[in-house]
């Protein structure tokens, strides 16, 4: 604060409280409606104060949308994507920043161009690849004539097939295949002073030792930021899981179930159950963001700028 200005301070607080209302109203409505009975939630106008039926509503939402197994699936996918991304991003950024090899720049651009096109715009062909993830290799073998050659020699036809539909691998891998994390790690590795590397070389440490004993401990904050961003974004995925799981009972995630919770056109308008379910579904990423705020804000800003 630079000068005293009681009037402007008042305006500031008023504006911030207004903003608080804008941001919190949807959360408040979810909590209020989720805790009311069917009669209360159907009242017009609605009473904007929580009632006592939250636990019953959660139980019926739990049953209706089969939330137990779906929550487990969501956790598996979110943790799988987060762990996979951190692992891949750190080692590939390590290779790009600290190693001298010919194709370095080509690799760099091959990976970073993927930042441009989100999964949604190439959803149709990505779905086709999920039906057989080894198809590109098959095509390469076919065009190079290797398939024909092997068939002529050994009379075995090479048929590569790996179906990712209805599997955790299919839910996780395509989400890991983007460059967000690699970029974040690269930005951080670029700030490591040269002296540090020279010193560790002097002490006789090779690249692997340097990575584990120097880089990883230094990049802890970075890792927390990436973990938060990835957990939230993979938990909240909707379109991809919807396409790749035809077997909803076993591989459905919790966000896909939201639609099943909405009251049907001519059914009972039990929005209280819907809201209780939505509350459960939005809680895990919200908790992660609220708890990790300090780190993730830093990570978000270095990632995108």
């Amino acid at each position: 604060m630079i000068e005293r200005s009681p009037l402007f301070n008042f305006v500031t607080y008023a504006a911030m409280i207004l903003g608080l209302l804008v941001v919190l109203v949807p959360f408040w409505i979810v909590i209020v409606a989720g805790s009311q009975s069917l009669q209360e939630v159907s009242r017009v106008p609605i009473v904007l104060w929580p009632s006592s039926h939250l636990w019953e509503n959660i139980q019926s939402a739990w049953l209706r949308a089969d939330l137990g197994p779906k929550l487990i699936n969501s956790f598996i996918v979110a943790i799988g994507v987060t762990a996979g991304k951190i692992l891949l991003a750190s080692i590939s950024a390590f290779a790009i920043v600290f190693f001298d090899f010919k194709a370095r720049m080509v690799c760099f651009w091959l990976i970073f161009i993927t930042l441009m096109l989100p999964l949604e715009v190439r959803i149709v062909p990505t779905y086709a690849i999920a039906a057989n993830a080894l198809l590109p290799f098959q095509v390469v073998l076919d065009t190079l004539g290797i398939t024909g050659l092997v068939q002529a020699v050994s009379s075995v036809r090479i048929g590569l097939e790996w179906n990712l539909l209805n599997s955790y691998t299919g839910l996780i891998l395509p989400l890991v295949a983007t460059a967000t994390g690699t970029f974040l790690y690269r930005q951080f590795f670029m700030t490591i002073p040269d002296e540090l590397i020279e010193a560790s070389k002097m002490d006789g440490a090779g690249p692997v030792r340097f990575f584990f004993d120097v880089l990883l401990p230094l990049s802890r904050t970075n890792m927390l930021a990436l973990a938060t961003i990835m957990f939230v974004s993979s938990w909240n995925q909707y379109l991809w899981p919807l396409l790749i799981t035809t077997d909803r009972t076993h591989y459905g995630t919790v966000v896909m179930q939201l639609k099943a919770l909405i009251p049907t056109q001519n059914g009972t308008p039990d929005w209280n159950v819907t809201m209780a379910g939505a509350l459960i579904i939005m809680l895990p990423p919200l908790l992660v963001v609220a708890l990790m705020q300090r780190w993730f804000v830093r990570g978000l800003i270095t990632r995108d700028k």
């Binding site: 402007f8 804008v22 109203v25 090899f101 959803i123 062909p125 590109p136 809201m275 995108d304």
Partner: protein, 294 residues
């Protein structure tokens, strides 16, 4: 990439970067090239592979009046969402930047929308805006039939736009606040010495200094409103009533997976890709020119 590389090893870097490269090739480059192939070919109705049809698929969608309506609708959607979301976030960031007592509390709550899944927010807003329920719907008891997103296309579109804008507040707020806090304190103090009141400083000092961030967010928001709207629309309106909330991504999904018209959907995907690439390109060009104010 000016950094000097330090290690030389014929195998190790490939082992490190290999997994990522394979994933990117399989799940990015292959599908993208496949989309290009489909966009220029047509699948035979009785099987037997694809025939090359040059630009026929594109001509077909460009001749389709409905497709242009979808494009126009998507553009309108993107502009409204971006404008609304950024305006709210900037407004809040400007006041939070004054760092009065207790600001930290407000600041941490403003970030929350970032954590919410679009379909979850969609369900919540659908209830808030439902014509029969007791929130916005209450005005129907005063003036019957004045608000009904399930039959009125304009109402439905407005509802989805508001929800999408709300979801973006957290992300935009983080960036605006960071940009505002990076302005050197001495500049603000100099402004105050010259007699500029806080409001004047906001318009004449802070806003011009954060234009690079404004522009960056503008592009990011436009891209995300073109591409990210599926979860919202699918839970809130399913493109209806009578197609009045059908945007490009939803049409691609619908034509491709419900209509099984892969060639048409691929051609539409390519158009959307070009749009996103063009926006990214504009950003690179512009940012290159402008970011050197300190």
């Amino acid at each position: 990439m000016e950094r000097r590389a330090f290690y030389r090893n014929p195998v190790l870097p490939w082992l490190l970067i290999g997994p990522q490269l394979i994933l990117v090739l399989v799940f990015f480059y292959w599908p993208t090239s496949q989309a290009l192939y489909w966009a220029f070919t047509l699948e035979q109705p009785w099987g037997g592979g694809n025939t090359w049809v040059w630009l026929d698929n594109f001509i077909a969608i460009f001749r389709d009046r409905e497709y242009w309506a979808t494009v126009a609708r998507s553009a309108f959607y993107a502009i409204c969402t971006t404008g609304l979301s950024m305006a709210v976030a900037l407004f809040l960031a400007c006041f939070v930047d004054r760092s009065l007592k207790g600001t930290k509390l407000f600041q941490s709550v403003y970030v929350w929308p970032y954590a919410i899944a679009a379909p979850a927010a969609g369900v919540a807003f659908r209830f808030i805006f439902a014509p029969q329920s007791g929130l916005i719907g209450s005005i129907n008891t005063l003036w019957p039939g004045i608000w009904d997103p399930s039959t009125n296309g304009i109402h439905a579109l407005a509802m989805v736009i508001i929800c999408h804008a709300w979801l973006g507040i957290g992300y935009n707020f983080i960036f605006f606040l960071a940009a505002l806090q990076m302005i050197p304190r001495s500049i603000t103090e100099a402004g105050a010495m010259d007699g500029a009141r806080p409001l004047r400083r906001m318009f004449d000092l802070q806003l011009p200094l954060i234009t690079p961030t404004v522009f960056f967010l503008l592009i990011m928001n436009l891209i995300s409103s073109f591409t990210d709207s599926f979860g919202l629309i699918d839970t809130m309106t399913e493109g209806g009533p009578v197609g009045s909330t059908e945007v490009m991504v939803y049409k691609i999904y619908f034509d491709g997976f419900k209509g099984l018209d892969y060639s048409g959907a691929a051609a539409q995907s390519i158009v959307l890709m070009f749009l996103v690439i063009a926006l990214t390109f504009v950003q690179f060009k512009w940012v290159e020119k402008r970011v050197h104010y300190n």
